[in-house]
Every structure is written in C-alpha cells, then in structure tokens.
C-alpha cells in the first residue's frame, strides 16, 4: 500500500517536473552554418578556335546541396556545373532565383524572388555576362562573380538554399592575382546555407 502511494507520488512529481521543464526552458536555436565547397572542377567543352566545332566534349558535374557532395546524374542532384553554365534539376522540380544583397544579411527569401526551373530552351540561372552569376571583364579577360549576387534554390526535397559563388578560378585567388592565361578556370569555390526545416528563413 505504501509502495503504491509512493510510486504514484513519484510519478506525479516527475510529471509536474517534466511539464515544468517543458514550459520554462525554451528550445535552443542552432544558427545555420554555411557549407564551403572549394575548387569544384567543371571544365567546359574544348572548342577548335577556327571552326567553332567541339573537339572534346566534357560532362556536367552534378552536385547535391542536401548531401554536400558530387553525385551522378542518376542520383538526386540539385545543380550541375559546366564552364560558366549552372543547370538545375528540372526533372526533380528544383527551382532557382536571383537576388541582390549581402549574403550574411539575407535572412529570408525576398518576396520579389521569381523561382523558375530549366526548360529545354532556357536556363533558370541565365547565361551570359551580367545576366546570371558572373561578370566577364573584357579588359582583363577574367570571369568574376557579380558582387552582391545571391543564388537562391529550392532543392529536390523542397528546402531553400542561399548560395554565393566566391571564385571561378582554382585556389580562390584574389582577383588582382588572376592571370587569365595561366590560372586554371572553371574551378568553383562557393558557400551556401541550406534551411533544413523547409522554411524561407535563413
């Protein structure tokens, strides 16, 4: 009889304590950390200068933002790189949009962002200097990411990503040190933050 009373009392006590614990202690918010990917090599096709014909075709390099790794075309890829072109996985309904701002200060997807996916004739991240993620400086012959240009993605799993490309050249060198003739290009260094809870806030 006493044991039963003590057990009930114990359970009652632990319940109250537990519920008190639940009401008083807020859930800790863990700030999202940016993932830095360095020197992802995605060389372009080799083209004969005089005829314009492709002499050596190269493949797209497929990347999954969720698993932070290079994958094959058959797997769940989000974006693909080749030369200066970035594709999104339209088959898995991955969409992209462009935004302007400072990467650290962009706390949520802007209302004006227009997400689109690749179609057979267009790219969601437009190609051409100034239109997508990069500027081509014809005076110095270098490709540099547009400062303040942020790429937004909605991955195959429906999570939002904000991405900033740091450099198009191997080793992420400062722009002044890039030699367009010798520094290897088409090596992407970029950082991104993925919001795993599916919300539009970063």
């Amino acid at each position: 009889m006493k044991t039963t009373v003590y057990s009930v009392l114990f359970f009652l006590l632990s319940f109250t304590l537990l519920s008190c614990g639940n009401d008083d202690t807020p859930e800790p918010v863990i700030p999202l950390e940016a993932t830095l990917i360095q020197d992802l090599a995605a060389p372009n096709d080799v083209i004969d200068r005089t005829t314009g014909q492709v002499t050596q075709a190269r493949p797209f390099i497929f990347f999954s933002l969720e698993t932070q790794s290079i994958v094959t075309e058959a797997q769940d890829w989000d974006i693909a790189f080749k030369g200066t072109t970035i594709r999104v996985n339209s088959a898995k309904n991955v969409t992209a949009a462009l935004a302007n701002g400072i990467f650290e200060e962009l706390k949520e997807v802007p209302a004006s962002a227009q997400f689109a996916t690749d179609t057979p004739t267009t790219f969601a991240i437009p190609t051409g200097s100034g239109a997508g993620w990069y500027n081509y400086n014809s005076a110095t012959f270098t490709v540099t990411p547009i400062p303040g240009r942020i790429l937004l993605f909605k991955t195959s799993k429906g999570n939002y990503v904000k991405m900033e490309i740091m450099s198009y050249y191997k080793g992420n060198p400062p722009v002044a040190q890039i030699n367009p003739m010798t520094t290897p290009s088409a090596h992407y260094t970029f950082r991104y933050i993925l919001q795993p809870n599916g919300s539009q806030k970063f």
Binding site: I47, D48, R49, T50, T51, G52, G83, T84, T85, N100, I102, F103, T121, T122, F123, P126, T127, G128, G130, A131, N135, N137, A139, T140, T144, P145, I146, P147, G148, R149, E164, M166, P174, V175, A176, M181
Partner: protein
Amino acid sequence: MFRISLIKIIFPFSLLACCSAWAQDGRKRILDSSGNPIAHAVIQVDGLKPFQVSLTGELEAELPSGKSVIVFAMGFDSHRFTWQEWGRLEEIILKEKTGALQEVVVAATRTDRTVEDLPLPVTVLTSEQVQETGGLRLSEVLREQTGLQISSDHGAGLQMQGLDSDYILILLDGEPLIGRTAGTFDLDRIAVSNIERIEILRGPSSAIYGSEAMAGVVNIITKANKETKKVDLGLRHRSFNTWNPYAELGFNSEKWRVSGMYDYLRSEGFDLTPETVGQTQNPFAAQTAQLKVTRAFSPKWELSLFSRGYLETSSGQMQSGVSETLLGMENFRRDFNLNPTLRFKPSEKWLFTLRGMSSQFSTESDTRFMADGTSFDFQEFRQFYHRTEQQTDFQLDSKNLFTLGVGHLLETVEATRYDEVNRFDAGYFFVQHQWDPSPKINIVTGLRGDLHSQFGGRLSPKVAGQFKFSDKFSWQASLGAGFKAPDFRQMLLNFNNAASGYYVFGANLAEEGIARLQQEGLVARVLIEPETLGNLQAESSWALNTGFRWNPSAKALLVVNAYRNQIENLIETAPIAQLVTGQNAFSYFNVRSVITQGVEADLSMTLSNTLRVSVGYAFLDTRDTQVLDRIDAGELFKRNAQNITSRVTRSDYGGLFNRSRHSGNVKINYSEPITGIDWSLRGIYRGKFGFADLNGNLILDDPSEYASGWLSVNLTATKTFSNGLFFEAGATNLLNTLTPAQPNNPGRVLFLGTRIPFANLIN
C-alpha cells in the same frame, strides 16, 4: 720731345675713333611691327655683356664696338646685324614671335580670327612649341598640353575634356583625316616635321564640322613655304634605335608656291614585359610624303592642291593563348589624301571657296603560325571617303561676317568582318554669323544640319559670346550641341568569335542575323524583339564652356576655362539573343549617358628677357549617370580581398576608367644669351587613374583599381645658328618612370637631331 709729339698725334686719333663710335650709337629705338616700343628688348655686341633698352624702347647706354650686334626680346624673333648695318639704322623693328593671343586661328570659325577675338576656348601651339617637345609624332606633342591625355587603345588616341578619341575630329589643313580603328584615330600616324601650327579647339564644334567634333577639334596646319627656294634636310636619332631622316622642299615664284615634305621613321619599338613573347610596341617603319601646290591665277583666283601619302609596316610575334604556339604578325597601314581647293575673292566683301577632299585608308593584318607559315588569321579593311563642299563668306560690314556652307559626302567601307561593300551618303549645310556689335562684345552663332543615308537627320546649333571688360580682361561663354554618328562597326559588323561562340551584329544587320541563326537552330531565346532592332541613334551631347583671359600685367597671362559636357545615347553592346550553346548574340544600342566636367587653367609669365615660365592645371570629373542611379538604388555591390561584400556608395565611385582627376604641367624656357642655346625643361604630371575593375562589379570603385600618378620630366636644348643651321638634343621621362598601366610610356628616351637648310648655305 719726339715722344711727346707722338702722344699728341695719337691722342686726336683716339678721340676721332671715340667720336665715330659715339656717332654710330645715336639714340636707336627698338619697335614692334605696330610701331610700339619693346620695353624688354636686349642688345648684345658679340659675346659681351648685354644692354637693356629703356621703357621707350631706346638704347641709352653706349655700346662697345664689335663685329656684330644682336637684338632680342622675348616673344619676338631676334635679329642679328653686322656692325656696319647697325650703324646705319635708327629704328629696329622686330617681328612678333606669334604670341599667345595674336595667333590667327582658322579652325574655330573656318575664317581667320585671332585667339583673343574668339569667344571659344582655343589653344595654339607654335612650331617652336612643337619643336621643344622633341616629339616626332603628333601624340608626343599633344601629351604635354594642359587637359589633354594620350591613351593607348588600338593606337595613340587623344582624350580631351574627359572624352575619348572617338569624339575628337582631327583636321590636316582644315580637312578631316579618316581611318579609325575601333573609334581611335592613331595620332602616331602624323609626322611633325613640317607643322607650322596646331590649333586645339575645345567644346562641341558640330555646328561647323558635324559628326565626331563632339569634344573638340585639332587642326594641324602644315608649313606654307615662304622662301624662294628651300631645301632642308634633317635627321633625328632616338633611343630604341629610332631614326628619322626628313626633307622639306619648297619653291616660290610670283604665281606658284610649292612645298613638299618627306619623312621616314623606323624604330625597333620597345618592350615593357621582356619575359613574355611579343613586344609592347613592335618594330615598324613608316613613310610620309606631302606635296602642296598653290597657283595664283590672278589676285582674285587661287587654286591649291594638297596631297599626302602614308605607308607603314610593322611586324611582331605573339603567343596563341593556351597552346602557346608562336605566331608571327605582319601589319600594313596606308593612307592617301588628295584635297583640291579653289578660292575666288571677287571683292573685299565676298570670298567663295570650293573644296574637294578624297581619302583612302586601308589596313591589312596577316597572322601566321611561325612553325610552318600557314595562315592563322587575315584581316583586311578599306575605307574611302569623298567630300565636296562650297563655302561662302560675306563680310556685310566691319561688324558682321556671314558664312554659308553646303556639302555632300560619300563613304564606302569593305572589310573582312563586313558583308559586301557598304556605302553611306550624307548631305549637310552650315550657317554662321560672327557679330561684333561693339569693340567690347563679339558673338558667334552657328547651325549645321546633316542628313545621313543610314541614320537620318541632325541639327547642331552653337552660340558663343565674349565680353571684353578691359584690354586686360575678357570673359567668354559658349553653349553648343555635338553629335557622333554610329560608325561602321556599330551599324554593319558581322562577326563571330568561333572559339568562344558569340556573335556580334551591327544594328542594321541584327534582325537578319538573328533570323539566320534561328534557321540554323542556334537560338535558345530571343531577348529583344527583332523589329525594334536597327534604330541606332547618333550619340549626342550638350556642352557649356565658359572662362576668361586675363593679363594681370604685361608679362603674365592667365587663361581659365570651365566646362560641362552632357552626353546621351552612348552606344554599347548588349545581348539580343541567348544561344543554345549558352553564349549570346550581341548588337549595339544607345544605352549610356555620361557627364564630364572640369576646369583648366594656364598661367604663362615672362620673368625676364631670357626666362619664361608657364604652369598648367586641369581638374576633371567624369561619371556614368546610370551607374550613379544604380548606386543610389543600392543595387551595386563590391567585394574585398577577404570576400566580404558591401554596398557601393557614391563616394566610392571614381567615374570612368583611364581618366585622371588631376593633371598639370610646369614649363620653364630659358634662352641662354652667351651660347645662344634655348633650354626647355618641362614637368608633365598625370594624376592617378582607374585602369581596370578588380572587385567584380565592372565599375571603378576601389583604391586598388587605380594606377598611381606619375611625373614625366622632359628636357630639350636647341640652337639655331644665324645661317639657319639647327641642332637639338634632349630627353623625355628623364626620371625613367615606368607605368605598366599606361603602356605607351617606354621609359627614358634620349634624342639628338639636326636640320640643315642647304639652300641657305649655298647662297
């Protein structure tokens, strides 16, 4: 006893000698051509101490006797007399050495007008000033002038009031010179050996000259032979194994005036980056020949013919990018001009001028693999320009001069990058009224209308006025419109960079070009509706120039000019279609608008009869208004070396590339009386300028994107003997300052030269 007698005999003789010397010295006066005394004239006997004249131009001191007497004064041509000639003269008249304000300028109004009477900012360079720069080519002469810069982009281009070479018209004896590469007129094509005078007119002059005179006009006037017979041979030698022999010939008779010139220049070029294949400037050889023949049929009729030819060859090596194969290049440039002019002056009031001008410009560029000689690239360009113009000048009375001109021009272009032979026709007229309502006021108004077969019509007005507060101070202001027609590239280019896969179409060919690419299945998406393509407008500007000329004293002159140019519709490339390869097809659009404004000041002082100093300063502010709008909207960002992104602010923005905010010069001229050598020491300063975008946003906004300012110290020594024999020696960039961001600077250059007037020596 005998001795005392000898003294008695000698003494009177010496008295006589003194008296004759005294008699020779009278009260001589030194005057200028208007009869006014030259207060700062100096008289020197042989190599002895010189004597200064009084304020009335009179020589009051007693001159020691000698063999020859020389009279000189700053700003005048000096004159040498034998002792006998000197004794006979009472008044010596010195010819004014074309001073700053008395220079006659033709280009500003297409009529003769002196600088001080022009309500426009004009600078005149005399042949002495051209000579003291030690330059062999026009670019080397102009780079020492306040407010002018020489940039090296497809050739040595001039920059005036912050505007590029595309917007400056270069005239030779009043006729335009053609042949631009990517808009730049290469001033290295103009030899300076027979230049009489250079007129630099700032501010839009499209009211007379039409297209390309948006920033201003540079008129090179060649020497008109004044001697009966002239055979001058000269030779100059310079660093980098540069040799320049030249000849000037002339013949004058009662009815004929003939002058000819031949100039040969060869150089090994120079290399600022010896570790890379290919030189910064390739070795080249250039020949210029000019012939001017004038025949006066009667006091009323005169016919003259001007012809010029230019041939240049250069060769070089380069490496083809990634594969590093060696390529050899051979380049040719050819230029021919033939300008007949007929003048009819039936009375004092009327002058009719009929001018024809035919020019041909062609370039050829042959690049081959050095290993086996097979062709890598071959480019050809041929341009022909013909213009006929009739100008009527009517002097209604002493206060009113009317000018009416009408003309037609025809231009054809054929080149590797253009389809077929392309032809443009244009007609134009211009009217001008020069009005001097009072001695203190003069006003010039002008209007030109152009009608062009490719881009329609254009009206360019201009009004300028000057008010002379006093003899020493005058204020002027002018407001004018300028325009620049789209050029061949912008209208007709048909270019495909096979390796990178992009296409560039001139505005007239864009619609057709896109249709063709669509047929080939290359177009992924059309960005701009093809029907809207092809409506390329001329670039246009409005500009205000205002300033003053002030003589604080007889020996000093201060000239100041402030300006603001507002330029719209600047043409640039923009994508019109995205291709399936990911590349773009581009065409030309009127997209940009730019403002340039600033102040230029020149102070020249005659410190003594042998020393002259001048100081010049130019302040320039340039901005692209669309960039400013984007900065204000917070749309432009910059990234620093630590990859931290921030917004660009207005104070970050540095304006257009390759323009110095501050520039200036100090020039000291010293005529050393004992040796007769004229020294000229100049310091030319170019302030820091933006050279490339380094932080990814394609605008100038970061201290790292500037090249530092630099000072070029130049020294020239010249001596002209009484028989006309001329020697020169000197150096430019004495401090050997190297400027990698400005590749037309080879470092220190030493030069040596002579000119022998054979016809004078033989006589």
